[in-house]
Amino acid sequence: MRVKLETIAHARSGDKGDASNVGLIAQSPEIYEVLRAQVTAERVKEHFREVCRGPVQRYELPNILALNFILHDSLGGGGTESLKNDAQGKTHAQGLLQMEIDVPEGFAGGQT
């Protein structure tokens, strides 16, 4: 079964210079393991291919069921230099939640 991340996780994003960060938080330990396996740095880079010009780094925070992604070179210069409407990557979390991943049929963790 293919689901959007927004049905099984939540997220917040912000800026660090010309990089944005997106923290993705699972709604249960089971979902966290699914995210850890499927939402790789490579997949996030592909998902944001028209936004992120640099590499994507991933950090794990199993204690709060979170993955933290750093999207380098994503803000058109960042802060005051950027010409983008979203110069601080505030919307990137909403973007990541649109990613689709595979979960087992009848997966209990999801909410609709």
Binding site: N21, L61, I64, L65, G78, H92
Partner: protein
């Protein structure tokens, strides 16, 4: 066990002006922290101070003080802020004037100085401190003439010193946001300079509340679950001397405090979660335990920290050219097609006039078509209306100014259904860019000055 209540009433300059007043009046509170300094705010304050030596601080803070001064004095609620900006003494003088007008006496105001490095930059770079840009690795020396402000991020210790001297209000310039929450804990609980786990706990408490409502339901992914966001309560930390704390908000306010709202704020603007570096401590976010402890109460425990680093972060700002952006609304059928045509008209006319911009120095965004997240959201074939947003930047002001003259003609010489062009031609704005660097901490700490005076 002794518990103190620390709130955040202002997450940034421009945040809700009623929030700190509601935080003060809405329930029990011992300390209120207020943040006014974004990364380049100090450069704006530098301009203000150059024009008028009595300015250079966050004037909004005076508005707050005028509303609440007798009350905070009466209830002994202590206010900690970076509103002092580049001129905390002038800010203090203004507060004293307000106190005299309101007949408040016995008010002690602390001032923390020593973060401003602008007068020392030449000496520091000459003495071999490269102040390399942390993002690019470039040394600062060749750019010295363009630097508009340079400040070190101070930690909690000088604020603690002011509290010990009895300050009701502590005015800082550049200081970490987390220090505003950590300082009262160090002061009240007597935490030592190497109590790393405790210092990390206070720092993480500060991180959770430093953006105001962002941990109480603001900016939350599942916004439809958040009650009465219009009346959102700003956060309160109930801190214990063992380093455990509870994040909550006043009863009767909107918003919500759950493990999910707190977790979202924990990851906000996060880099490596195992090493959150401040002047006070290096905190490990992978050690944090969150537990729902009743409605709108999240208990935070288990936090570990390790030694602080030998460096302080420096935040400098410098003039990096000019930029402008302008927008028009295109309404009616074929709005996307019309917006693309309007953009093409602007760029082609500028090119014929001999004004060109490198691809990375010009931006075309069709707001409404998912322009913030290109390639992620599906783009429809047509929309009832689109906002076309164009922007350019350049080391020189002239081409940016020329760009500003090409938007208005679209109203009569572009496609039909163009509106929403108001406010005149976009004017070139200076780009004040941010230069993060590191400096050996003793260069700064040996010169920190804390003074507390009474009106």
């Amino acid at each position: 066990m002794k518990t103190i209540r620390i709130g955040n009433g202002q997450g940034f300059w421009g945040d809700n002006v009623d929030a700190p007043v509601e935080l003060l009046r809405g329930g029990p509170i011992d300390y209120i922290g207020m943040d006014y300094l974004a990364e380049v705010t100090l450069s704006i304050m530098m301009r203000q101070k150059l024009r008028n030596p009595k300015l250079g601080y966050a004037t909004d803070f005076i508005g707050f003080i005028r509303r609440v001064l007798p009350e905070i004095k009466e209830r002994n609620v202590r206010v900690l802020t970076n509103a002092g900006g580049l001129n905390p003494r002038a800010c203090r003088n203004r507060i004293f004037e307000v106190a005299r007008e309101l007949g408040v006496t016995g008010l002690r105001v602390g001032v923390v100085e020593g973060d401003d490095l602008l007068p020392r930059l030449k000496d520091l770079t000459a003495a071999g401190h490269a102040l390399k840009n942390m993002d690019t690795g470039e040394p600062l020396a060749p750019h010295l003439d363009k630097v508009m402000s340079a400040n070190a991020y101070l930690g909690a210790r000088p604020v603690v010193e002011a509290l010990k001297a009895g300050a009701h209000i502590v005015l800082c310039g550049r200081i970490t946001d987390t220090a505003l929450a950590l300082a009262p804990m160090i002061h009240e609980f007597g935490w030592g300079p190497a109590d790393w786990d405790l210092l990390a706990a206070g720092t993480i408490a500060g991180h959770i509340i430093e953006c105001g409502a962002q941990c109480t339901g603001g900016n939350f992914s599942r916004f439809w679950e958040v009650p009465d966001l219009w009346n959102v309560g700003y956060p309160v930390v109930e801190a214990g001397e063992d380093g455990r704390f509870t994040v909550t908000k006043h009863e009767g306010t909107g918003g919500m405090v759950t493990v999910d709202t707190v977790a979202e704020q924990l990851v906000y603007e996060m880099s490596d979660p195992t090493g959150y570096i401040t002047p006070d401590v290096t905190a490990d976010f992978t050690s944090i335990r969150l537990k729902q402890d009743g409605k709108d109460r999240v208990e935070v425990s288990g936090i570990q920290g390790r030694a602080n680093t030998p460096f302080l972060k420096i935040s400098a700002s410098y003039l990096a050219g000019y930029k402008a952006s302008g927008q028009i609304t295109l309404s009616g059928p074929r709005a996307i097609e019309k917006a693309k045509l309007a953009a093409e008209i602007v760029w082609k006319r500028l090119e014929r006039a001999g004004v060109t911009f490198a691809p990375e120095d010009r931006e075309t965004e069709l707001m409404g078509t998912g322009a913030c997240l290109p390639g992620i959201l599906p783009v429809p074939d047509d929309l009832p209306e689109v906002v076309l947003r164009l922007g350019v930047r350049s080391p020189e002001s002239a081409p940016v100014e020329r760009f500003g003259k090409e938007i208005a003609p679209l109203v009569t010489a572009g496609p039909p259904g163009v509106t929403g062009f108001a406010g005149g031609r976009p004017k070139p704005q200076e780009i004040v860019a941010y230069w993060p660097a590191l400096l050996a901490r003793e260069e700064v700490e040996s010169r920190i000055e804390v003074t507390v005076e009474e009106v």
